[in-house]
């Protein structure tokens, strides 16, 4: 295997907020080779730098890691992603040895931050410690500064970024920030970039808030070096053609046209949508909140991340009615479903208003939508009193009642303080069998893809390494592919999903680009194995935190409550079939089907034995 001769700066920036020190930390060539960057190198850094398994996610010593990939900062199309890796404040194992046990989380966000961090000369940013007062971090090339954020604390994310750019006097800064939810450490608080791009899942915003860190702003003037310049230029030219061609144009125009909102209509028709707290898979009023409706009533324009030809993001404006004048993104598939059909809300403007407030306060809308849906169902079933909800009349379909909950959660007022901990904590408190429809795995709420008529998604949710996650992949191969893609800076939306029939960046493209950029020669199989290595190290991280097979379970609802409406009416998961699928999954992965621990042979095959023994 050829050595690394480009693509990387060879170090990350480590900032200790407690001592106020910053240093360049060199990264072993071997780690780049084994984990690439992004999510992969992020888990390796978390593995190496977490004081010990079971450390509290919100304790100062827990690292909060921002990771671009080896392609970030280069003009290769669709390589805009940043992975935010840390311990999740939201998850925990069933049989916990200590209060700090939790999974890792890897929240993935597009935009411009990752590329800019690389332009500042760093392959990543690791933040440890806790600032003595609310602060923000400014990285300008090699200069690092911690500034007082007292006057910005409490500010919503929509207002924050323009305000900080004004304060810094330069609108080229790229910013990651938290909103009030992160400051108050809502367990599913997220980190926001450009007001509507979100490192959403797993509560990374709460970890950032626990460090008293309001924002990170970065500005750089470099471009990462490449190993083979002429080859890189060839690769660049070829990659810019990926979305040109007939089928490619169809996909490209789908993203440009409606982005992920394209799935709203399709998934509802196919019974794959999260509706009425995951009770149903089809939303009968879908045409009121789908992409066509948004296109007609809300959207203004499509916009793109760094050097991406897909422009899947949609900015919007409410033009009439009580919320006229509201300007924000969306709905996308996830936000439109979780704040729409999952709450039986068919008022599109009300959906957009909720999305604005969810993003502005900096909470993960997926988790928030599941929390509010759960409470609506508890209220409907009479399991909770109006007083439990502080008098909020939380009925299905009521966007303004949902808005009141969003506000309570972000401020952690009254019921919001408990709801800020997620559906599992609520079900623990409410009891009365509510756990059966508390829709989470390992403590993290499920996303907008429902399960009863989509068993492969059930496997995805049950075995994902950050608690329920729709993005992880529906089988082992897809999980490894995604883990590898997430480690390069590339956006999963711009890939062929390892299905040769689809256009997009393929494993072959990644292999060729990696050779040109870094000099690393990894075959397609070796790259898939890199993904497998990353997935297994994440799994081992969780194992040491006490997660076992009994944690890879789905809520009872999916085995009991067959859909009653839509094309998939009657669909429900078969318990025996699901167990068998899981058995085959563990066996196929080389994991112990009883404990779910990766076997020594598997770890050895993936060059992980030494890393795991070193701890």
């Amino acid at each position: 295997m050829a050595g690394i001769s480009g693509g990387y700066f060879g170090n990350i920036l480590k900032v200790d907020l407690s001592s106020g020190s910053a240093q360049r930390v060199p990264i072993d060539e071997k780690d780049y080779r084994l984990f690439l960057g992004g999510r992969g190198l992020g888990i390796k850094l978390l593995w190496d730098n977490l004081p010990s398994p079971g450390a509290e996610s919100t304790s100062p010593a827990t690292p909060l890691i921002f990771m671009p990939g080896p392609f970030s900062g280069l003009p290769l199309p669709s390589c805009s992603r940043t992975c935010v890796i840390t311990k999740s404040p939201l998850t925990s194992p069933l049989n916990s040895a200590g209060p700090g046990d939790s999974t890792l989380t890897y929240a993935n966000v597009g935009g411009f931050f990752g590329p800019e961090l690389r332009m500042a000369g760093f392959d990543g940013l690791m933040i440890v410690g806790k600032a003595s007062k609310p602060s923000y971090l400014v990285i300008t090339d090699g200069r690092v500064e911690l500034r007082d954020a007292g006057h910005l604390w409490g500010m919503g994310t929509d207002e924050f970024e323009p305000a900080l750019k004004k304060e810094l006097g330069d609108n080229r800064f790229q910013i990651m920030c938290i909103g009030p939810s992160g400051e108050k450490q809502v367990s599913y608080a997220c980190i926001i970039h450009t007001a509507a791009r979100v490192a959403g899942r797993g509560g990374s915003g709460a970890v950032m808030g626990s460090k008293n860190l309001k924002a990170v702003a970065v500005l750089g003037a470099k471009v990462p070096p490449v190993a083979d310049h002429p080859l890189f230029l060839e690769r660049l030219e070829e990659c810019r053609e990926i979305y040109n061609g007939m089928i490619s144009h169809f996909l490209r125009d789908m993203m440009r046209g409606q982005g992920t909102a394209w799935f709203l209509d399709m998934n509802s028709n196919d019974g794959k949508m999260s509706v009425r707290n995951f009770r149903e898979g089809t939303f009968e009023a879908i045409e009121k909140i789908d992409g066509d409706a948004a296109q007609k009533e809300i959207w203004v324009r499509s916009y793109a991340c760094y050097c991406c030809p897909l422009a899947c993001k949609k900015s919007g404006r409410v033009r009439t009615g009580p919320f006229a004048g509201l300007v924000h993104d969306g709905p996308e598939y996830e936000t439109g479903t979780m704040f729409g059909s999952n709450l039986m809300i068919s008022d599109l403007k009300g959906v957009v208003r909720q999305i604005f407030h969810g993003d502005d306060s900096g909470m993960d809308i997926i988790s928030a939508g599941a929390v509010i849906g759960f409470l609506m169902e508890c209220r409907e079933k009479g399991l909770i009193t109006p007083a439990f909800l502080d008098g909020i009349d939380l009925r299905w379909g009521d966007a303004s009642a949902s808005m009141q909950m969003i506000e309570k959660i972000s401020k952690r007022q009254g019921i919001g303080d408990l709801a800020a901990l997620g559906v599992r904590a609520l079900a623990d408190e409410i009891g009365q069998g509510s756990h059966e429809f508390a829709i989470h795995v390992k403590g993290q709420e499920l996303a907008a893809w429902n399960v009863q008529a989509n068993p492969v998604k059930g496997l995805c949710y049950a075995t994902s390494n950050r608690g329920a996650c729709h993005h992880s992949g529906d089988n082992a191969q897809a999980q490894d592919f995604t883990a590898m893609i997430d480690s390069t800076g590339l956006c999963a939306f711009a890939t062929d999903q390892d299905a040769p029939i689809l256009p997009g960046h393929s494993v072959k493209t990644v292999s060729e680009n990696l050779a040109a950029v870094t000099g690393l020669e990894l075959s397609e199989d070796e790259l898939r194995q890199t993904g497998e290595r990353i997935y297994n190290l994440e799994k081992m991280f969780n194992f040491l935190e006490g997660f076992r097979r009994e944690d890879d379970v789905l809520p009872e609802r999916f085995f009991k409550d067959a859909f009653t409406v839509g094309s998939e009416a009657g669909a429900v998961l078969d318990r025996a079939e699901f167990k068998q699928t899981l058995d085959e999954y563990y066996t196929g992965r080389g994991w112990d089907p009883i404990t779910s621990r990766p076997s020594e042979a598997t770890l050895n095959r993936l060059n992980l034995t030494e890393i795991i023994r070193a701890t």
């Binding site: 450009t194 007001a195 002429p230 793109a304």
Partner: protein
């Protein structure tokens, strides 16, 4: 586009903003008539011949133009051959300003017909009538004579005063940078734009053409698209 423009010899800046992409009629004209490469004729300078036009409704703010511009205009020597650079956006002559609400405004040298940058240059004209900063007679682009330039920054100040502010002093050389070269007839920003948002328009002698500051264009778009005032810088 050229026909549309020639009917308005004394257009105001606001009208020009409209003509260059804000009105829906103008957008169609741009899409149909804007060209990707230039037909170069070496002729004495009579006016700025070409300028970059942006269809703001098509631009998605991806900044591919910045990287393509930077790569072409900052080439490298590789094994004795001149090849494009990697495309460091900091070195680009075009810059996409992004705002909240979502508005993206690419700006580049507008080759303003009244030349405030050249007017501000304190260096006496040479035998050819050129100050250190001067108008190139072949393409109508603005160039700098680094030998005579004293790096005073007057040109950058003039550009920042109500124009695009793309002209700036390079951080290392302290010489003017950011002037559009039109890539010698093959403007890479136009060619590489995945959204076909950029094109080249011909500006006839006598027509008033000025670049506007990004925040002014953005303010206009924010108002028009979202009914909002612009926040931040």
């Amino acid at each position: 586009m050229s026909e549309h423009v020639s009917n308005h010899n004394n257009v105001s800046r606001r009208d020009f903003l409209t003509a260059l992409g804000l009105g829906s009629g103008a957008m169609l004209l741009l899409g149909g008539c804007g060209s990707k490469t230039l037909d170069l004729v070496d002729r004495p300078y009579k006016g700025p011949y070409w300028a970059l036009a942006v269809d703001y409704a098509k631009c998605a703010g991806c900044r591919t133009c910045e990287t393509a511009c930077a790569a072409h205009n900052n080439p490298l020597k590789h094994n004795g051959k001149t090849v494009p650079g990697l495309g460091n956006p900091r070195l680009a002559n075009i810059r996409v300003h992004s705002f909240n609400p979502d508005v993206d405004v690419p700006v580049s040298c507008a080759m303003c017909s009244d030349e405030p940058c050249i007017a501000a240059c304190p260096i006496s004209p040479d035998a050819k009538g050129r100050k250190a900063l001067y108008r190139d007679t072949r393409l109508g682009v603005i160039r700098n004579d680094a030998q005579r330039c004293i790096g005073c920054g007057s040109c950058a100040e003039a550009c920042a005063d109500g124009r695009t502010a793309i002209l700036h002093l390079d951080e290392l050389t302290r010489r003017p940078a950011g002037m559009c070269t039109l890539c010698d007839g093959e403007p890479q920003c136009v060619i590489s734009c995945p959204y076909e948002a950029l094109s080249i328009v011909e500006i006839k002698p006598g027509q008033i053409y000025k670049g506007l500051p990004a925040h002014q264009v953005a303010g206009e778009l924010a108002q028009q698209w979202y009914g909002l005032e612009l926040q931040g810088v």
